[in-house]
Amino acid sequence: MKRHSLIRAFSLLIRRDFILAMRHRAEMANPLLFFILVTSLFPLGIGANPRLLQAVGPGVIWVAALLAALLSLDGVFRSDFEDGTLEQYLLSSHPVSLLVLAKVLAHWLITGLPLLLISPLLGVFLGLPAAGIQILFITLLLGTPVLSLIGAVGVALTVGLRKGGMILSLLVLPLYVPLLIFASSAVDTAAAGLPVTAHLSLIAALLVLALSLSPFATAAALRVSLS
């Protein structure tokens, strides 16, 4: 009975965030548009030299994905904080960490997934070889949830501040750096035709680590922000 109602709360929370996102389509498209614009402006800015583009491509796509995630992060808890629904999560009879996980999952599905799906196209645009694009896709698949999970902790800590945007970037970006390094070097290595299992394992390890720790940290940070 109890587990059943928890699953119901979990799925309803995700569905609710979807409905809210659909009613604010412009806001939802913002990070994706940013991602596409930045990556497609690069070839125009640095010239259409295929070797140059291939060399900077993985880094450009990953940096753009990271900044796009940062751009959308504030929305995870901001509106919930302002209208008081955040208090209701904390006062729910379900574990707050699982409700937080539902929120983060919804955030990834709404902002991370579209970015992931469009990335092969941008890989082609930057002239990456097929092997590189494949690995790019896998790194984004493993990496974008990490962006949402780590970001949620930062947002939870800064949601009570009026101008938390700057602090949020300072808090979260250093934690994103290892992921950025491993992911873009994985794509580079793959494009050179070398094995990338080690890179992918490391990114997968980051995902598991974030998945198991971040919901608890986020829930605790929310309590601090609201008290």
Binding site: A9, I19, D83, Q88, L90, S92, S93, L99
Partner: protein
């Protein structure tokens, strides 16, 4: 509401102290609340009414003392305490871009569901016919009534209400007062702050004046 009459719940505050910005709002505050009783907090603006309610919710930690539910510290009970409580704060806790039905469905899922259907809960607060109107299009008083309808869709014993009558008209106030009275009569507990006089004729009311 259903099983609260049979079990003897109790809420107890022991030697509570709250300090805000180096000002002591209250100290050595103690009270005990039993089923069927209401606690009415009075006091000037800034006297710590909302802070006390947030301490009762466990959102804010008291600077000294503790709140006990059935004899156990609520900070240790966590979710076991929250399945007995419902809180309507200063902010409504509803999403303006959702319909009243969607809002109540979410509220119900977050707590322990009651037997009342969502439609019946809306009808109780006179919002029948507004099920599928975006909440944004409702008036402030209607939004407040929707927030209070959340109390009905979960099976909570203790209702913690921060200024429930804000932006309600005379009729709305009467509707909500009836709701509170009915809850107390069924063995529920109330902790309410209000600027308005709260008319609960049939239930024992404790009054605590925080500015005294």
């Amino acid at each position: 509401m259903t099983d609260s009459g049979t079990k003897s719940y109790s809420l107890e505050a022991r030697a509570l102290e709250c300090v805000r910005d180096d000002r002591t709002l209250f100290r050595d505050l103690a009270f005990r609340l039993e089923p069927g009783q209401a606690l009415l907090l009075e006091g000037r603006n800034g006297s710590g009414k909302t802070s006390l309610l947030r301490i009762l919710c466990g959102i804010r930690l008291p600077d000294a003392g503790m709140i006990a539910w059935c004899g156990t510290d609520i900070q240790r009970l966590g979710a076991d305490y929250y399945q007995h409580t419902a809180y309507v704060g200063h902010r409504d806790g509803i999403k303006l871009d959702l319909t009243p039905m969607e809002n109540l469905a979410m509220a119900r899922a977050l707590g322990r569901p009651s037997d009342m259907t969502l439609e019946a809960a809306l009808a109780r607060v006179d919002l029948y016919g507004f099920e599928d109107v975006p909440t944004r299009n409702l008036s402030a008083g209607q939004q407040r009534r929707l927030a209070l309808a959340r109390l009905l869709v979960t099976d909570a014993t203790l209702w913690i209400l921060d200024e429930p009558f804000t932006s309600l008209d005379v009729h709305g106030i009467r509707v909500i007062e009836e709701l509170l009275e009915a809850h107390a009569q069924q063995g529920g507990m109330l902790a309410v702050t209000s600027h308005h006089a709260v008319n609960l004729q049939r239930s024992p009311v404790h009054r605590i004046n925080l500015s005294a």
